[in-house]
Amino acid sequence: MIVPVPMPVLTVRNLCVDARTPEGRRRVLDDISFDLNLGETLCIAGESGSGKSVTSLSIMGLLPKASLQVASGNIHLGEKNLVALSNRAMRSVRGGDVAMVFQEPMTSLNPVMSIGAQLTEAISEHQGSEGGTAQTIARQMLDAVHITDPARRLTQYPHELSGGMRQRVMIAMALSCRPKVLIADEPTTALDVTVQAQILKLMRELKQEFGASIILITHDMGVVAEMADRVAVMQNGRIIEQGDVLSVFEKPTQAYTQELLAAVPRLGAHTGTDGPPRVSPQVTTAIPTPPSPILHVRNLNVTYGSPRWLFKGKPQLTAVNNVSFELRAGETLGLVGESGSGKSTTGKAVLGLIPFTGDVVIDNKNIAGLNARQMQPVRRSAQMIFQDPYASLDPRMAVGAAIAEPLIIHGLGGRSERDDRVAELLRRVGLQPDAATRYPHEFSGGQRQRICIARALTLQPKLIVADESVAALDVSVRARVLDLMLELQETMGIAYLFISHDMAVVERMSHNVAVMRGGRIVEMGTRRAVFENPQDDYTKTLMAAVPVPDPRARHVA
């Protein structure tokens, strides 16, 4: 076999980028060097704040001028040094030679322009083809990304398309001018796992067809394993390790890379066991045997919209359709499904946060039809942890006050008792007691989620609904927060209704699993049964779509 000599399309050398802050300059990219070879996919992997997005924006010349600036280094695309190009010359590179696909397909398209207008605009800009020709190219591009009925799609607006379709449009737009380099910044992070699988497949196909080289930026080692020819791992603004995908995955030389790979939850990692792994060193099981059901849900229905009356009202939508399950003390029921499956709605209904029909029995009390006052005592035993630790803490409330608030609402304890309880809770979730006087913005995402957990624990609940509670966290942080949740369950006997789209995380956390789709539970059983021997086709599809963090186990060669 003749090994082809790698031909670099894009060369980045000693690139440094500084951020301007009120405290002075701060280096956010430190001496970045890499090559992108013709026809290859280079994955830049790293956690949030590692500088991977800044790298891509530097190549595009899209750094926000007010805050970020290239301090030194070169980016060569063929003969051109992108760092030294004039604004005007750079414009012909952007979208022409180097194109980009962004993370959020829902917001990356202009809501008031038709798909056709947004596609043809790039084509006219770079190829000088107007009107009919541009329309034809646009239609061919939609065809290439497998969008059905392309002629009609051109006249539609972004809100009429699903997230996956919008991302296809973004890819069509990026490839329409046949760029040499395609930069995809977390292109599938906002998408459902089955849609992610389709988009990744599409990108692989198009790379061949259009002969583009791809820089794929992602935090997901599963996606890296699935897509990369070579990998660059970034941490704190530096590339700490780069090499071909097999050697990085199988013989990582840096401790950080090893940690990152170890922290990735792998589907099937818990095959052969019944419950989640034990994490607490002391075996203090407070769970009574046999455990009593703490939550009983029977024939739960949630409908949105009101019946049409004269001119008013929206069409009704059944978000949760006849869902029944039960959850015992000290156990976790994983509720897994894609967006729109009704899993979050179920979680809210269980806590009586939205109107529902059917029965929800928490700790032997049926909450169906209770008013806010009657709900109050029930809320003591059931709490919630939300997805976004940045949005779910009041930025103007000190952490201690946020944690103590439930005590005040329920009229429990005096001032000094509350302070003691806050200190104890903070210690319990692995934070220093002096955190109580500080404000949420002083903490990282993982620390904030610990604060949210502490707040949920304040009233010593028997049930916690955790809705995508680790989805916004980096993998290494995520693993530690999950361990904390497991430890709290072991020592306090809390039952979790663990809602997630992430199959691997659900596998790690759950005793029992329910798979939801279109408002219904399509499959429910013990974790072992569902994961090791799935019966429903949808469950199988869902599991097959999860990227495996092993480059040797790729779905497509």
């Binding site: 595009m60 750079m90 590179v93 022409g96 962004f102 202009n110 605009e121 809100h159 737009m173 001119f311």
Partner: protein, 306 residues
Amino acid sequence: MALLIVRRLVQTALILLGVAAITFLLLYALPADPARMIAGRSATAQTVANIRRELGLDQPLLVQFWTYLQGILQGNLGRSYAQKTDVGALILARLPATLILMAAGIFVEVVLGLILGIIAALRRGGAIDRMVMMASFVGVSAPQFVVALLLLYVFAVTLGWFPMSGFGTAAHVVLPAATLGILGAGWYARMVRSAMIDVLNQDYVRTARAKGLSSARIVLRHALPNALLPIIAMIGIDIGQFMGGVVVVEAVYGWPGIGQLAWQAIQQVDIPIIMGVTLVSALAIVLGNLLADIIAPLIDPRIHAR
């Protein structure tokens, strides 16, 4: 769309009824006596009483209101006490002048506001931005009669570029329209600025940059239509603000519109004219909002005219 218009017509009728009732009540509660004003200072009590009976002012409030409503339904806004002519005809004769003034005023405020707002947003934090924001603050805060007198002094008296007052040529409309527009331009500049800053930070603007489009195209084709959405709703509401300004401006510049008519009528306690002008103004506001609601879905495909 048809449904929207039908619903709005019903709403409009209800709003006008409410406006009529409130205005009627307020005028009734007025300490001034229209019969006395018409009769003159030296008239006898008998004369005043006769006039009062003639105008139906001796009837109970509800009867008076009912009679007035019946008139309106027949398209009759009543007769002016002072001018002894049909109020509808009076307003109709004055309406074109006011509409010209309002159109010119809205043009000034929207164009000026848009340009200043966009420039300020693009130069955010810079000297130009600060100057525009300062100027808009002055524009918003300055009372209209002060602005009117200032403009008159500078451009009519000192420089002599525009006529002092009156109506007829294009030159006549400049100063009144500018006076009306400056207040609104300040508001719009601020609104457009914040809307543009918001939109320029959106992901789709970054997408447009990544396509290699020119700055002009990014601002005008991608950002501006999105930033305009809240502004359009604002223009609809703004017509109400405008009517207040029209009365002042028409009085200062001797502009023969309904504002001046209302001004004179208030001095003479000419209730039918006050009522008529109030109702026409209310109608203008409702129509302005309806227009905004019809235009919005044309710009934003996510909004459905319902």
